[in-house]
Symmetry: C2
Subunit: 194 residues, 2 copies
């Protein structure tokens, strides 16, 4: 259960058996059925969650009722409304399961204790956030500089795996496009294909 978590932690930092044991005690396991919510927009996001199985999505609903997907989270990745989790504000995003899923969750108080008791976790999350920041920055620049078609080509190339698991309308939302636009531009990207 925690094996996937340790595998990921140990890609970035070295852990002693004692630290591993301690880390285990901080996380609770949670099963989510498809469509079940982990966080609901407007509530406080109580958990930082590591996905061990399945696929979640985090999204915001704007004033006009349009949903904007912020993140897809498959196995081996973390998800949360960070602003809500770390600062206690109400959550801007809802997070729900796109498939039957399993997550390891930690509360913010426990997160604080974990980093104090196992300082190398600060290093792990420093590296994790550092990488996320690089990715997020790229996405932001891409949102300004790339055309709809370029954005689609790019994600197909970089995340072929994800494309297969995600309905097209939700992928459109993630890319900041309307479903119609994504449907149309596919013909240009794969002219010959069904």
């Amino acid at each position: 259960m925690h094996d996937i978590l340790f595998k990921h932690l140990e890609e970035k930092v070295t852990l002693t058996p004692g630290e591993k044991e301690l880390i285990t005690t901080f996380f609770a396991s949670k099963k989510l059925k498809k469509k079940q919510f982990l966080v609901v927009e407007g509530h406080v996001c109580k958990y930082l969650s590591f996905v061990t199985k399945g696929l979640l999505k985090a999204y915001n609903t704007d004033e006009k009722g349009n949903e904007h997907i912020n993140q897809f989270t498959p196995e081996g990745w973390w998800t949360s409304d960070m602003n809500s989790f770390f600062r206690g504000d109400i959550s801007f995003y809802s997070i729900d399961a796109m498939e039957d899923s399993e997550v390891l969750v930690i509360t913010s108080e426990d997160f604080e204790n974990l980093t104090l008791q196992v300082p190398v976790m600060d290093r792990y999350f420093r590296l994790l956030f550092q990488n996320s920041l690089i990715t997020k920055e790229r996405r932001l620049i891409s949102s300004y500089t790339h055309t709809a078609e370029e954005k689609y080509k790019h994600i197909v190339e970089k995340n072929p795996d994800l494309i297969k698991r995600v309905p097209q309308n939700l992928l459109a939302s993630y890319l900041g496009l309307s479903p119609e636009t994504l449907s149309r531009l596919k013909k240009n990207v794969f002219p010959g294909h069904k």
Copy 2:
């Protein structure tokens, strides 16, 4: 010189006198005249820089020759092309001084040594990156959901200080707008004013 740096570090973590002394040895001071480059797009970004005076900008030039500003960095903030600095790739951004400025710089090897010798720096940067990530995420969602006018109103409200120091065409670039659009929408936001 390093005082501003310590003031900022100590907002997030506690440092012993010994740690402070050690930290000091890792940073070199650098003066930049207005328009001078700290990094040039296409080269490796050698430094992570803490601005102690002045104002820098980080920007990318796309295929069509348009500049897209990624970040304005005034005193008390960090700047770098993180992907280049941490991974050694060539830099996607250029960074230059918008005013005569002073920065404290650290190389990536020294950054690695710093975090190993002063582990609490991992915590500091974990917290720093965590906050940056929250901000960057908001900007990304905003780029999809908000109109040009909303983006402008928002930044005027949140960064009134910055607005005064930044020419309008560069602010437009930061917001992903053309200078013409920003000029026009101002009339709607401040109808009475000159």
